[in-house]
């Protein structure tokens, strides 16, 4: 991977999404800058997935603005996302990565080698020829990561990438995330796993019922939460 020329900060201004009269995101104002991973946490239904999809441009805002590096997000080309349940294209693992490389405009002559590199990065080089749909859940997540990295992203959104994975598969994903982050890719990741947030986060964003409750550096968040909701969430109490 080459060093990214970041188009951060990502700024959300009064971002609001309403679907069928239900407010999913409620006037979120947030700035995401370069640096260590930003981890979005919160209980189920708090708006984590919607926030990431909106930032990626997959879901339009009902109102408010998303601004990348001071510009309107006409065509953010070097952002990538890994979904919680990524869809595997009906082809081999290597062909999935080559497809992503082709979609990212990588010349045909370079795709084979780049795909092999990316599969090595996520530890799937031995499964390159296997149909992607026949990989295990953890392997599919790693393949989705390789596909996302094929875009050579400056910002990588990860939507609960380890939900429903066992500890071994979770560690494999976290190791890749740490390695990618260390190379300068900005990782914005959602999770409801506090332990994972502690391990990976440089900054924590807590959402509850579509509202931004807290946005602070990780050490402050875990040691000295500013809000009652954050304190309860850290203490493992139910946020309802």
């Amino acid at each position: 991977m080459r060093a990214p020329d970041s188009d951060l900060p990502l700024v959300l201004k009064d971002a609001r999404i309403v679907a069928r009269d239900v407010t999913i995101l409620d006037r979120i104002t947030l700035t995401v800058s370069t640096g260590s991973p930003t981890v979005v946490i919160g209980p189920n239904g708090s708006g984590k997935t919607t926030l990431l999809r909106a930032a990626m441009g997959i879901i339009p805002l009902t109102s408010g603005d998303i601004i990348w590096g001071g510009r309107e997000p006409a065509a953010p080309r070097r952002h990538a996302i890994v979904f919680q349940r990524p869809a595997m294209l009906r082809r081999s693992a290597a062909a999935n990565v080559r497809y992503a490389l082709a979609a990212a405009g990588v010349p045909r002559a370079e795709r084979h080698e780049r795909a092999a590199e990316l599969l090595r990065l996520v530890g799937l080089e031995k499964l390159a020829g296997r149909p992607a749909k026949r990989l295990s859940g953890g392997e599919q997540q790693r393949l989705a990561l390789a596909r996302a990295l094929a875009r050579d992203p400056t910002v990588l959104f990860l939507d609960e990438p380890t939900a429903s994975l066992d500890p071994y598969a979770t560690k494999a994903i976290e190791d890749i995330v740490s390695a990618v982050s260390a190379q300068g890719v900005k990782v914005v990741m959602s999770t409801h796993d506090l332990g994972q947030a502690k391990r990976l986060a440089g900054e924590v964003v807590l959402l509850h019922r579509g509202r931004l409750v807290e946005n602070t550096p990780a050490p402050d968040f875990f040691v000295n939460p500013r809000t009652e909701e954050a304190r309860k969430f850290i203490a493992g109490e139910l946020l309802v």
Binding site: R77, F83, A87, R91, P131, A132, K133, R134, R147
Partner: protein, 230 residues
């Protein structure tokens, strides 16, 4: 029983009359499936991937046409091609070409409906990933068709099965003329009514064998799809 043995003889000895009928039947059905595929696959893909006013009504009509009675399709094509019909000047009535048109009318809705369902399901599954990868509309369509190829070939085989087994439409527009428009199904109907059972049974055996082969091929396609694509 004697009739059965004679029928088997006709098949095993390669009776020229019987095999001329089989050849014409396969040719007509194959041509019909090719034309129906050329119409049905793009129409199905278009319906799967576009939204327009009246789309659901079109889907309902195409689904309903899957059950179109062959005699009705035959009658419609007959009226179209008859001397006083809008295409009467083409002089196609009672020719193999007319039979191809009739079978195309029967098979195209089947292929369009199955294509629509297959592509739509796959499109829902792939939608977010392709959007996240900034895949343009043309590449998206090609990706969906390529990744659904085994299911689409199965749809074509289903269409071929329908065409090969059909009698009502082609007997109306083909006329069942010996050596010219007589196919397996129309010959079976005629020979049975004449009491010439050996030829009818022989053709029936060939027809059933073909239908079994088509289904085996469709099954093989499904298995190949699972094996190679997961």
């Amino acid at each position: 029983m004697t009739g059965d043995l004679s029928a088997l003889d006709l098949v095993l000895t390669g009776n020229p009359t019987l095999f001329a009928i089989v050849r014409l039947s396969l040719l007509v059905s194959l041509c019909a499936v090719v034309f129906a595929g050329l119409i049905g696959v793009p129409v199905g893909a278009l319906l799967a991937l576009t939204r327009f006013r009246g789309r659901e009504a079109v889907i309902v009509i195409i689904n309903a046409l899957m059950g179109l009675p062959p005699v009705v399709a035959g009658l419609a094509v007959f009226l179209l091609l008859s001397r006083s019909g809008p295409l009467g000047s083409w002089g196609l009535l009672f020719t193999p070409q007319a039979m191809v048109i009739a079978q195309t009318v029967l098979v195209a809705p089947i292929i369009a409906a199955l294509t629509r369902q297959t592509i739509e399901d796959l499109s829902v599954e792939y939608r977010d990933e392709l959007k996240a990868m900034d895949v343009g509309p043309m590449r998206r369509v090609m990706t969906l068709i390529w990744d659904a190829r085994f299911s689409l070939i199965t749809a074509l085989l289903a269409g071929f099965g329908r065409a090969a087994a059909e009698v009502g439409a082609i007997i109306i527009v083909g006329g069942n003329i010996e050596g010219f428009t007589r196919t397996m199904t129309t010959a079976i109907a005629l020979e049975t009514s004449k009491g010439d059972l050996p030829l009818a049974i022989g053709l029936g055996m060939v027809l059933i064998t073909i239908i079994i082969l088509i289904n085996a091929l469709a099954w093989g396609m499904r298995r190949a799809g699972e094996h190679y694509l997961g």
